[in-house]
């Protein structure tokens, strides 16, 4: 995709957290995001996938400036979000919204959901007082809820309904870009499917762009046009969804894919069970961040000294020195996994 087609362009985003030591002493720096670049086109979904602690949520929050970045750029229609003053940032937030995993914690328990949805309309003066009830009713209907629910309170709703309320609230200000931060992870499968379908339908009807952050590759496949895989603060592979899932070139993507539990007992696939835990982002390994758990047959000292850069391989871009010869899931000798 050419840069001019993209709605959001993120370049070399870095986010470090100072971990609090006792009595003002500073602890080690947590390197949550270590130079991440990607773009999201109009009407497109980019899936940002990784395990807990990989920095994917930090990316989502930083580009909305819910947290300040350490360095980097995030261009929304060519304007750097990180350079905006308060007034222009507020205007931008009308265009960029976020929905969370747990909509309950983002809803005020003492505010009726009608009032919660109307809040954005009022702040951005998008409707007159007389128009508001009609707009709220229309939004509730759009997300599949009964318009009469506007008078009810958050505790009266199920998890799936609350997520629909969260979506209605985000849609109220007519955004063109929504960060979806694990929006279906807490939902039961049947409800999860309903919400995924709703998000797809809304995208089609409104031409929305999504940054869809999730840990579940099967869920992401359902909604994302492209997928970026994160590991320890870096994107290790990125590509069109079908390509990345059919022919992953980074060993971590291969492992992640093989770990997805497939609801089919006849699928006798090779399970690559990675040993150990994710290294700490406050003390990442030198060289390739994945080398401590990597099973690539060509793994060498180069992996522990030189950080591999993202480079185009067949169909995806991958950050592995030996991406050309990364084995497929079924080729991995599971006994060789460290």
């Amino acid at each position: 995709m050419k840069a001019e087609d993209s709605l959001l362009e993120v370049r070399d985003l870095v986010k470090h957290y100072k971990s609090g030591g006792l009595f003002g002493r500073t602890g080690p720096v947590v390197r949550a995001v270590e130079g991440v670049s990607f773009s999201v086109g109009r009407g497109e979904t980019l899936g940002l996938v990784g395990e807990s602690g990989c920095g994917k949520s930090s990316v989502g929050r930083t580009i909305l400036r819910l947290q300040e970045p350490t360095s980097g750029k995030a261009l929304y229609e060519g304007v750097d979000i990180f350079e905006l003053d308060r007034t222009s940032l507020r205007q931008l937030r009308r265009r960029m919204q976020i929905i969370f995993q747990d909509p309950y914690s983002s809803l005020n328990p003492r505010m009726s959901i009608g009032a919660a949805i109307a809040e954005g309309l009022e702040i951005h003066r998008l409707a007159t007082k007389a128009e508001i009830p009609g707009r709220v009713a229309a939004l509730l209907e759009e997300v599949g809820l009964d318009p009469t629910y506007a008078r009810r309170y958050p505790h009266e709703f199920s998890g799936g309904q609350r997520q629909r309320i969260g979506i209605a609230r985000a849609l109220a200000v007519q955004p063109s870009f929504i960060v979806c931060d694990e929006p279906v992870s807490a939902l039961d499968v049947s409800v999860q499917a309903q919400v995924l379908n709703l998000l797809s339908d809304l995208q089609r009807q409104r031409g929305l762009s999504y940054l869809f952050i999730a840990h579940d590759l099967a869920v992401v496949r359902q909604i994302a046009h492209r997928i970026a895989v994160m590991y320890l603060g870096r994107i290790v592979e990125e590509g069109p969804t079908d390509q990345l899932l059919a022919d992953p070139r980074h060993p971590y993507t291969v492992a992640l894919l093989s770990a997805v539990p497939e609801p089919d007992p006849t699928a006798r696939k090779n399970r690559i069970v990675l040993s150990g835990d994710l290294p700490s982002p406050s003390n990442p390994p030198p060289g390739c961040p994945f080398h401590t758990r990597c099973f690539h047959p060509l793994k060498s000292t180069r992996c522990s000294t030189e950080v591999p850069l993202l480079r185009p391989i067949s169909g995806t871009v991958a950050a592995c020195h030996y991406a050309e010869s990364t084995p497929r899931v079924e080729e991995v000798d599971t006994a060789s996994v460290p």
């Binding site: 009407g43 979904t45 395990e51 807990s52 199920s158 799936g160 309904q161 039961d188 499968v189 049947s190 409800v191 999860q192 499917a193 309903q194 995924l196 379908n197 797809s200 995208q203 089609r204 840990h215 579940d216 590759l217 099967a218 869920v219 496949r221 359902q222 909604i223 994302a224 046009h225 969804t241 899932l245 492992a255 992640l256 894919l257 770990a259 997805v260 539990p261 497939e262 609801p263 089919d264 007992p265 006849t266 699928a267 399970r271 690559i272 069970v273 990675l274 040993s275 150990g276 835990d277 994710l278």
Partner: protein
Amino acid sequence: MSFPGANNTPFYPVDGVSFSLQRGETLALVGESGSGKSLTSLALLQLVPAPGRIEPGSSITLGDTDVVALKGESLRRIRGRRIGMIFQDPMTSLNPVFTVESQITEGILAHFRISKAEARDRALHLLQEVGIPDPAERLKAYPHQLSGGMRQRVMIAIALSAEPEILVADEPTTALDVTVQAQILEVLDELRSRRGMAVLLITHDLGIVAGRADRVAVMYAGQIVEEAPTPQLFAKPSHPYTQGLFASVPRITGPLQRLNPIRGTVPAASGWPSGCRFRPRCPKAFDRSEVELPLIPVGPDHSMRCWLAEEPKTMVIAQQLPGDART
């Protein structure tokens, strides 16, 4: 199992659930939240939260022992000792102010007459068995010093410490990342085959069931609605609810299809629908669905709670909408 409800009308979140578990077997109890699967597992150890109670007439037999009748000391000799249990969130089950060692040896010392040193040796051995690297060091650690995966391994070690015949695993990997989930499931599988333990796996994830369980019981609204050996259930899901669950699960392989979710939501235990409990959400509901029904055989070892079992000609495979879900 009953809970007192409004106006003194009790409600029954678990309502007539029957199953058996053989030595060395894994039975998966699958269902969404509110199906009663976790309460069912808690009942096995008489851990039903108050004011809930197991209704008279219910029976749970472990070998020759009637678990429901047990009280006090004899109940304690079952809990942990013969039936071990692990939960979804190890952090809330582990005590933050005690070391891993003292939490593992507590169970060993309670159930066996051995010295502290011997108990420590066993604890060390258990940590090795569940795949914890550097076990001697980890014995001295406190729960907050361990990762989520390590904590769940410690929980498994504690559950195994009294060498139970049955391990109840309630969503053991739901809070964990996929790669860690794979590790934990591997450990559980190994332990089961090595120790000949029976496992009751409670989960909402059909993907986990596919690779691990011998038999599956699908729960909906406090009842088992379908039960079959795993290969049969996956090859031919028969109850409309089971079919709906399968159509709702996003797949990582195969053609990409728009998901076909079950409409509506799980009813509350205080108001189970009459007749077939899935009737209000069922795309295939018909006049007989208004009549309550038992599990009806649909094949060898395969039964379901749906009248369609008696009308095989009207059976339809779950419809899936064609087309690419992504736009």
